[in-house]
């Protein structure tokens, strides 16, 4: 094999006698991560969404736009579609387009050369697992394939074969007990209080201000002038050649979400004390923080900074915006603490202590400032007599890409070639083989 230059696949695994670098695909609801097995970080991180302009005439073809940069550009009538919901593929055609975009041609010219490992959530239904296998062999034409549970990948990458994986994703927060390298399905729990919900809480806070804060994103603004704090801003809007065709609500929301993401990273913070001690009055005395929106409008955020994140632990505190109702009832939805309890209820008493002392925290949402410390305090207060210990990488990338990292190392091990589902095995046994091979 030619020496792998920068960006080339490391010759780390043997397959069928030749050394061929395997590829890794870690699809999430918000972003899809892809790269070479053996590498710690994905080479590609792209939006899991795609832009779509429906055909103008009957029988015509619609237009697809993939990768952030192409979705970001304003195009009249372009909708933004989300092929995955709750970590699960709902729109196979869309997901296949996104996955292919993540891999070809940046990582390889064709998928027929390299074995491919794909990660999936613990709750992926059997039907979907088989469908993914089928897609890989029939449509992507991969020579070998493996489907790995992302919680198991994350557990292994943290040196744990027995643990509780808490994944704070975009669509949800999930808790998956892993025991001797296998997920315990009965103990797997999730709640829709992930990053998307926090985004919605931020928006609700913005909408509550009088007047409501304008979330017009950067890409629609031409010029803005500096304005004093809390003074109205009057940005000049950009003009587009297809101005007469309005942009869609789904596209606008997608662009605004990137802005809200920035707000989450810089302003939102987790309150440290366990549920029950949260007090807005007390927090109102803390120094507020200034944030400037793309329009130029800038304002202070005080106790709201904490209240937004507190709702993951106490959903009854959720801010309600009648114009943008929550997709669940905050009175009955389970908090993060509650789903840990639910999860432990579902597993053997003997295993409970072992996993509480080994909690692995991953997912982009766990990067909310102060999150892991709060989780530690919350769980320790729920289980005062048991040792609770959280393992969360200090490196943001290792947490965001924990599934990728685990899958990447696993697939690069010299011994892993025995586990791949080969093309021959697929031809012989069909997609059902995934249930037997990929536990």
């Amino acid at each position: 094999m030619a020496s792998a230059g920068q960006g080339g696949p490391p010759p780390t695994m043997e397959y069928g006698g030749d050394e061929v670098g395997a590829l890794v695909l870690d699809p999430g609801t918000e972003t899809t991560r892809a790269g070479f097995a053996g590498e710690d970080l994905p080479k590609r991180v792209i939006a899991s969404q795609y832009g779509y302009i429906p055909p103008t005439e009957e029988g015509g073809e619609g237009q697809y736009f993939l990768d952030d940069i192409n979705i970001l550009r304003r195009r009249g009538g372009m909708e933004v579609k989300w092929p995955m919901q709750d970590g699960i593929v709902e729109d196979w055609d869309g997901a296949a387009r996104v996955w292919k975009e993540a891999l070809v041609p940046q990582l390889c010219e064709s998928l027929a050369e390299n074995p491919l490992i794909v990660t999936e959530p613990a709750w992926n239904p059997v039907k979907n697992r088989e469908k993914t296998t089928e897609l890989m062999f029939e449509q992507f034409d991969v020579p070998a394939f493996y489907l790995a549970r992302s919680a198991v990948c994350a557990a292994f990458a943290n040196g744990k074969s027995t643990c509780l994986v808490v994944d704070v994703g975009h669509s949800n927060v999930s808790v998956t007990p892993v025991y001797d390298g296998l997920i315990l399905k009965k103990g797997t729990q999730k709640t829709p209080l992930g990053g998307a919900f926090i985004n919605q809480q931020c928006r609700a806070i913005f909408a509550q201000r009088n007047p409501p804060i304008d979330l017009t994103p950067y890409n629609l603004i031409d010029k803005r002038a500096r304005v004093d704090i809390d003074e109205p801003a009057h940005p000049e809007m950009r003009k587009f050649p297809d101005q007469d065709i309005p942009h869609t609500a789904s596209w606008l929301k997608w662009c605004q979400d990137r802005l809200v993401h920035d707000f989450k990273e810089t302003i939102v913070q987790t309150y440290q004390q366990p549920s029950g001690s949260f007090s807005e009055q007390h927090l109102a005395t803390q120094p507020p923080r200034l944030y400037e929106f793309p329009t130029g409008f800038n304002t202070n955020f005080g106790s709201e900074r904490y209240k937004i994140a507190e709702t993951m632990f106490q959903p009854t505190l959720a801010t309600i915006n009648p114009d943008d109702p929550l997709p669940f009832d905050p009175a009955t939805v389970h908090s993060i603490g509650q789903i840990v309890k639910d999860s432990l209820q579902g597993i053997d008493v003997d295993v409970r202590q072992a996993v509480l002392a080994n909690i692995v925290v991953v997912g982009g949402g766990s990067l909310l400032f102060g999150f892991t410390d709060r989780l530690q305090n919350e769980l320790q207060s729920l289980y005062p007599t048991v040792r609770v210990k959280i393992y969360a990488s200090m490196h943001a990338a290792e947490r965001k890409y924990a599934g990728f990292l685990g899958g990447s190392i696993l697939a690069s091990l010299g011994t892993f070639h025995q586990l791949w589902i080969s093309r021959r095995e697929y031809d012989e046994h069909g997609a059902g083989i995934v249930e037997k091979r990929c536990k």
């Binding site: 292994f156 990458a157 943290n158 190392i409 010299g414």
Partner: protein, 145 residues
């Protein structure tokens, strides 16, 4: 086969059986490691030192290992001694992520082959494999030093 495809060297189980059945009176603990070619788990060391500290001293500070220790303790009730075999997965925080990955994903190859283990300990720092911590776990609060 393990989750990683890593296998077990043929020496591993006999070494464990000798320890379990007391055929090898001098051995108190066994340390297992991954072979240099990373294809199988091999016996690294049979420890003869009777004190527990020699055992923990044999665990590397920044790499992973598996181990079996023949744990002996007195019952608080004074009803005599108990002996329990304890399995350790040693994965210190400072170990390279690759090493953590291989050991965690290959554990079942070894663990499933060993019958008669009473307790499983996952250690990521020395406090987690300290005598008191393990005693508490193994004896469920019924043991004293």
């Amino acid at each position: 086969m393990s989750r990683s495809g890593v296998g077990l060297d043929k020496e591993c189980v006999p070494a464990f059986e000798d320890l379990k059945l007391g055929r090898d009176k001098s051995t108190k603990f066994i340390i297992f490691k991954l072979s240099d070619d990373k294809k199988s788990i091999i016996v690294e060391k049979k420890g003869t030192e009777p004190d527990y500290d020699s055992f923990t001293a044999a665990l590397p500070e920044n790499d992973c290992r598996y181990a079996v220790y023949d744990f002996e303790y007195d019952l608080v009730s004074g009803e005599g001694k108990r002996q329990k075999l304890c399995f350790f997965t040693w994965s210190p925080d400072d170990a390279p992520v690759r090493s953590k990955m291989v050991y965690a994903s290959s554990k079942d190859a070894l663990r499933r082959a060993l019958n008669g283990i009473h307790a499983d300990v996952q250690g990521s720092d020395f406090s987690e494999v300290a005598y008191e911590t393990v005693l508490e776990k193994v004896s469920k609060g019924q043991g004293s030093k």
